[in-house]
């Protein structure tokens, strides 16, 4: 088992032509909403676990033995090693199999893959994070990163939207982020319940509340296609340069290292060129359906 050399980002641990997963134990499962759970996963091999490094926005291929793999972004704090958290919507055969294994179960893991958020460019910027639904999962390590390195950025804004209050992921943390005042966090829901006192409506409504200093703003968004589109359009109209609007994209993934072809987006392999892209890198194809 060797970690591949890489210049700019943590590279995957690979064995047997990169296809052999590392055994990993599920140490804890947190219920997020009716079909979404956060799996705390610990790589079994001590040496690999202690040398495993990753950055916010990267992902692992999680393997349900005998069933298959799914690409799941890492949601925990990248500076806290040992346990890797993966928030999974239990909707397919692989995710259901992982869910069935539950706490104490052993799954496989390959990774970390991909290029994450540009944390190395954050210095001196206002950071606007926009997330929808489970799109908060790849944003969460970025929030942790910003909280650890708060002095490196100016304003930090997190806008999160989901369908109903019960659909929030990391609800307790969102509450804490909203009330602590270290960052400006705001949660909106499409459909409110009676006890909901926050804003109601889609997350893009919140975008209008943000006063943007285009000179120093960085946008990082992850959500369904329409959210990414609305977020990108909104900030581009406010003259935030396309090279500072970042989107994390979802694609079908099989190999994770740019070989199987599934994740192609125009000329990009989302697994290695992304999943995080600056808008300027994908402007040519962003408006096209089915690129």
């Amino acid at each position: 088992m060797t970690q591949l050399g890489s210049t700019d980002r943590p590279a995957p641990f690979c064995g047997l032509d990169t296809w052999l997963p590392l055994p990993a134990r599920i140490t804890r499962v947190d219920q997020e909403n009716f079909n979404t759970r956060t799996f705390h996963v610990q790589i079994v091999d001590d040496a690999v676990r202690s040398s495993y490094r990753w950055l916010p926005g990267q992902f692992n291929m999680l393997y349900a033995p005998g069933i298959g793999e799914a690409a799941i972004s890492i949601s925990s704090d990248c500076e806290q090693g040992g346990v890797l958290e993966h928030t999974i919507r239990v909707v397919g055969s692989v995710t259901r199999a992982i869910d069935r294994l539950g706490e104490g179960g052993v799954i496989g893991l390959r990774g970390p893959f991909g290029r994450g958020w540009p944390v190395d460019q954050i210095d001196g910027h206002d950071v606007v994070m926009v997330a929808g639904g489970i799109g908060l999962a790849p944003i969460r390590p970025l929030v942790y990163w910003v909280l650890r390195h708060r002095e490196r950025c100016h304003r930090v804004i997190l806008l999160y939207g989901c369908r109903t209050p019960d659909d929030q992921v990391y609800a307790d943390e969102l509450k804490a982020w909203e009330s602590d005042g270290v960052i400006d966090a705001l949660v909106t829901v499409d459909n409110a319940a009676q006890d909901w006192v926050g804003p109601v409506g889609v997350v893009t409504n919140l975008l209008r509340r943000v006063r943007v200093n285009a000179e120093r703003t960085m946008v990082m968004a992850c959500g369904p296609k329409m959210l990414n589109r609305a977020a990108a359009w909104n900030f581009l109209q406010l003259h935030v340069p396309a090279s500072r609007v970042f989107l994390s994209l979802e694609r079908n993934m099989n190999c994770g290292f740019g070989r199987c072809g599934h994740c192609q987006y125009g000329s990009k392999f989302v697994c290695t060129d992304g999943p995080v892209f600056a808008f300027s890198e994908i402007a040519d194809i962003f408006a096209s359906e089915e690129a």
């Binding site: 591949l4 995957p12 690979c14 047997l16 032509d17 990169t18 296809w19 052999l20 997963p21 055994p23 134990r25 079994v44 033995p65 005998g66 069933i67 298959g68 793999e69 919507r89 909707v91 397919g92 052993v106 496989g108 369904p224 296609k225 990108a232 359009w233 581009l236 109209q237 003259h239 935030v240 340069p241 396309a242 979802e250 694609r251 079908n252 099989n254 190999c255 290292f257 740019g258 070989r259 199987c260 072809g261 599934h262 192609q264 125009g266 000329s267 392999f269 290695t272 808008f279 300027s280 994908i282 402007a283 040519d284 194809i285 962003f286 408006a287 096209s288 359906e289 089915e290 690129a291």
Partner: protein
């Protein structure tokens, strides 16, 4: 390359027809699994053989959009047929390949078995376009490229099969109706990367050596000096083949034209004809998409992970929890064609098309890649280019 053999490389000589038997026997004796064009199921297939008699001698082919027929040809000619649905790709990147077998032992994945080692392959009668396709796949599978574009570890099976392979390429003297290698600058004559190249005449072959291995092999065969008349005849036949290409594709500015034609009306038009059957991707010598899936042995609990060829024309190819990324045939055909002729350049700094014409011949409705690409390139309109670039230009710059 040692000094003694260097002058012999790229030297041309004459090999009589009956030496083909000795050549195949020699390769078999040297431990090669010899692969050559044979007639199988009414088509020319690249399959293992042990004697020259198994080659598709005297067989000719007719190819056109959606049409393939074998016909009787000159009984003296071994290679008067052109490429069939098969290509050497399957020997480097098998259609179905076991990656490994696992047994789950508590917190350990015990590897019971891995990918078998590839045999030593010798290819007789592969064509210049197929050699070009192999060089393209070299980049995809991570060998033969500089470290800068090296995406990950190279594919070990591919690397081993490729490094041990011997290539006896045949220069095409009779192109098929769907060939356009001249447009793609890959044929009909192989320029490099072969051990031996053959140009077939009625009485024998003009043979050219490409490597020391080729020189050594030829040394064991009854070759003689080629006469100037024989050399002249061979080059005349190749010149004629260049002029007889069944299809043509003007590639100048084609990538740029396709890059800004995401919304071209032609995509709708071709989508009406395309059946999304995936034939073009299955016969293409450069297509590399694959899917790894698991099979379980219920008796032993063993898990086998197998890699299969996959096609971008299927729904599951791009499936995510919100549905397939490319749910329309328009989107899938556009992705395939643009990948071959445009985005392949961005990814691997080469075209993804070698002009072999297989996708045209084996398309059940005869969709012609050269015709589609030409139509798009020649009717460039404002509306074809509805990219986000305009948006950026307008507001963000």
């Amino acid at each position: 390359m040692s000094d003694t053999t260097a002058p012999l490389i790229h030297k041309q000589s004459f090999l009589p027809k009956d030496a083909m038997n000795a050549l195949v026997r020699r390769l078999v004796d040297e431990g090669y699994t010899v692969i050559g064009p044979q007639v199988h199921d009414g088509a020319i297939m690249m399959r293992p053989l042990t004697t020259a008699d198994e080659l598709a001698k005297g067989v000719c082919d007719e190819q056109d959009g959606g049409r393939y027929r074998l016909t009787d040809g000159d009984s003296e000619m071994y290679f008067d047929n052109v490429v069939g649905p098969d290509s050497p790709k399957r020997y480097f990147f098998p259609p179905q390949q076991k990656l490994f077998t696992l047994t789950i032992k508590g917190e350990r994945f015990q590897v019971d078995d891995t990918t078998p080692k590839p045999p030593k392959y010798a290819f007789i009668g592969i064509r210049a376009c197929e050699l070009a396709a192999i060089k393209i796949q070299d980049r995809v599978f991570g060998i033969d490229v500089d470290q800068q574009t090296f995406r990950c570890e190279s594919d070990q099976y591919y690397r081993r099969a490729r490094q041990n392979a011997l290539f006896i390429v045949v220069n095409c003297t009779r192109p098929a109706g769907t060939c356009f290698c001249v447009s793609m600058e890959t044929g009909p004559e192989a320029i490099d990367s072969f051990d031996l190249s053959l140009t077939e005449l009625r009485e024998g072959f003009i043979v050219r050596t490409g490597t020391e291995k080729g020189v050594a092999l030829l040394g064991q065969l009854p070759a003689r000096e080629a006469t100037s008349a024989e050399l002249e005849l061979a080059s005349m036949k190749l010149r004629r083949a260049r002029d007889q290409m069944g299809r043509r594709l003007d590639t100048r500015g084609l990538k740029e034209a396709l890059d800004k034609s995401m919304e071209h009306p032609r995509w709708d038009e071709v989508a009406d004809r395309c059946l999304s059957c995936a034939n073009c991707t299955m016969v293409c010598p450069t297509c590399f998409c694959s899917t790894v899936s698991d099979t379980n042995d219920l008796a032993t609990g063993q898990v086998t992970r197998t890699r299969f060829w996959e096609s971008c024309f299927t729904h599951q190819f791009s499936y995510t929890t919100t549905g397939p990324v490319r749910s329309t045939i328009r989107g899938r055909y556009r992705h395939w064609l643009c990948h071959k002729l445009a985005t392949w350049w961005d990814q691997f700094d080469t075209s993804g098309c070698v002009g072999c014409g297989r996708c045209i011949t084996w398309c059940p409705v005869g969709i012609d890649l050269t015709e589609e690409a030409t139509a798009i390139r020649e009717q460039q309109t404002e509306a074809s280019d509805r990219s986000g670039r305009g948006f950026v230009d307008e507001w963000a710059e």
